[in-house]
Symmetry: C2
């Protein structure tokens, strides 16, 4: 099969982790006779530096012609003084909106080999396997009106959802839950305070009626922040609105042990968007310290979802487990006082995975 | 000294934990010759059941005449179908607004004796001592407009802050930080996306200029959800807007090991409001299973802040440490496989503390 992939490397460690993902994709393609065509495009700070905008028009237009978009990371401290609407992150939010994917899938898995990397005790994380479904195009991120009025010395943002927006993302989450062994869906909200959440809960309950085999529960976002740490194994699919998903899925990174390990896929729109969870980490950019596994696992999600290449996707995921079990560690997952670990840099980690897929 | 205290026991386990706090207060009063006068008043579901409203007018009026208000918890599943504005929680939000306290102080401490109760490894939590300063009267909780429009099938809430609101809570947080040994303040926002947060960060930086001895840092709420679990010891005072503080302070409960341990004090208004962090836990109400320590430590904060009774407050806090070190445990803090623990119920835990203060 052939896949045209927009490569949105972005800022900081983005380019180096994307490069390793490309190497792994090429290796997979060679073995299976698949061809991946890459279209490197600017986004984020790289877009601002070159064209004065975090989402150059060319980037958007060309991405829209691709089968999938693979993004590294955006953001750099040097843009901190800009308004949210002009920062690198605005490019990310804009391309999310334009591509139209509203369901951001974020797995959080406890790898046996990384049991010592989590601040959580092994007996708490062991076997945890969560799939977050984060709504990605609504809520406070995109709600209008939004303004910091410097005359009035007052700022506001709007959290807004339509029932249709909740319904479509809920349906994706239920579809996923229905196919998983536990068949459980936990919907997160703050229904005791927010009207948005009250509606969210109502719509989720409606959609739930179509999925009698899926067990549904509702949790408040504050309680959920605790439960995820005290009993992560009790969860299966977790459905959240945009900001709650941002916070809770990052928090759940501690189950795995490093944000650098975590992939994501955004589906439901014109072009699916694949991006690791981690940020651009400008402080370690270009030093070979970044963990490319998050992006490589993101590429695996792309092969599975956009390419239908389940075997190849699984092959990458298994290779990651093997490499971890063999003790190879980028700095973010290196534990002190644990024997049998081999410190590797970004490139070597990538090459080890290339050799295994 | 004499303190008139509005007793807002509320729902679920509220009445039983408040009773234990009263017993401890009385014991402290007897020793030191202080008198505490209690005014029991209805709030939350108890208010709805008796008067059809979660904040009966009598409750509000009488509380406003008191020196301090001590609240148990509100909320009951039987009201889940009501709109947010009619639920027990609306009574809590309304009394918070009417009393006017905008700075909610929430300590999160790692007790040595409870090291095994946290899902976090001992070496991560050891020595952690955080003070959250959560803005309590702004943001999504109170922002207008707010509505679930059932015709339009659309809901919205408003996150709104004025610079003055940020400034006054920031000042309280800096004042606290300036008096603590670490003198560090971490302000939490989502400035890469929200205008509210961009303004928040600007105002915090302005106030910071007045406190040259306090080290300031800004963290994004999603990253903070990780840092609190991976390196809680690196934080001292954490300043947040309302919802972020709700989520992160609950999350930080895992540092201590149980929400049942955590107190809070809300200051800056007409009457200070003291409430434990935990909810009403209707499932265990009336069974002697609730941990009264959160409420008893809340009473200690009240003695310190509203009564100026530092010695007495410290006495209660020390008694809690002693009781924990002697192995007494309510069900929420009982660990399996740990020797030397004595299971106790709500009342016995209260009595043990009464004997020690
Ligand atoms: C960079 C930022 C805008 C983004 C978000 O908040 O969605 C990031 O935190 C994420 O989770 O992908
Ligand atoms: C009960 C609820 C309204 C409340 C809040 O969200 O403020 C609670 O979670 C808290 O943290 O005190």
């Amino acid at each position: 099969m052939h896949l045209r992939i927009a490569l949105l490397a972005g800022d900081g460690i983005g380019p180096e982790v994307i490069q390793e993902a490309v190497n792994v994709l090429d290796a997979v393609g060679e073995v299976g006779g698949h061809t991946f065509e890459y279209m490197p495009l600017l986004i984020g700070g790289a877009g601002i530096d070159a064209h004065g905008t975090p989402l150059p028009n060319e980037t958007l237009q060309k991405t829209l012609t691709c089968d999938a978009a693979l993004l590294g990371a955006v953001g750099d401290n040097k843009f901190n003084k800009l308004a949210p609407s002009e920062r690198p992150e605005a490019g990310l939010l804009k391309i999310r909106a334009e591509l139209g994917g509203f369901a951001n899938l974020r797995p959080a898995i406890a790898y046996k080999a990384l049991a010592n990397n989590s601040p959580l005790r092994h007996e708490i994380t062991e076997g945890a396997d969560i799939m977050f479904v984060r709504e990605l195009l609504g809520g406070l991120y995109f709600g209008e009106p939004r303004l910091w009025d410097k005359q009035l010395r007052r700022a506001h943002n709007t959290m807004v959802y339509t029932q249709d927006e909740v319904e479509r993302v809920a349906r994706i989450a239920f579809d996923i839950a229905a196919k998983r062994p536990k068949k459980k869906l936990t919907s997160v909200d703050k229904a005791n305070v927010l009207e948005c959440s009250q509606m969210w809960r109502f719509v989720v309950d409606q959609v739930a009626n179509e999925y009698p085999n899926v067990t549904v529960e509702h949790q408040l976002v504050d309680s959920m922040a605790i439960h995820l740490m005290t009993r992560p194994r009790d969860f299966d699919v977790i459905l959240t609105e945009n900001l709650f998903g941002d916070i809770l899925s990052d928090e759940s990174g501690v189950i795995t042990g490093s944000l650098g390990m975590l992939p994501s896929a955004t589906v439901g729109g014109k072009v699916n968007l694949y991006e690791p969870i981690h940020g651009s980490a400008p402080d370690i950019a270009g030093q070979g310290k970044a963990n490319p596994i998050g992006t490589i696992l993101t590429a695996a999600m792309m092969l599975r979802i956009s390419g239908g290449l389940e075997t190849e996707a699984k092959g990458i995921e298994d290779a990651v487990v093997q490499v971890l079990e063999a003790g190879y560690r980028t700095p973010d997952i290196l534990s002190r006082n644990v024997d049998g670990q081999h410190a590797v840099d970004t490139q070597l980690m990538g090459r080890l995975l290339v050799d295994l897929v």
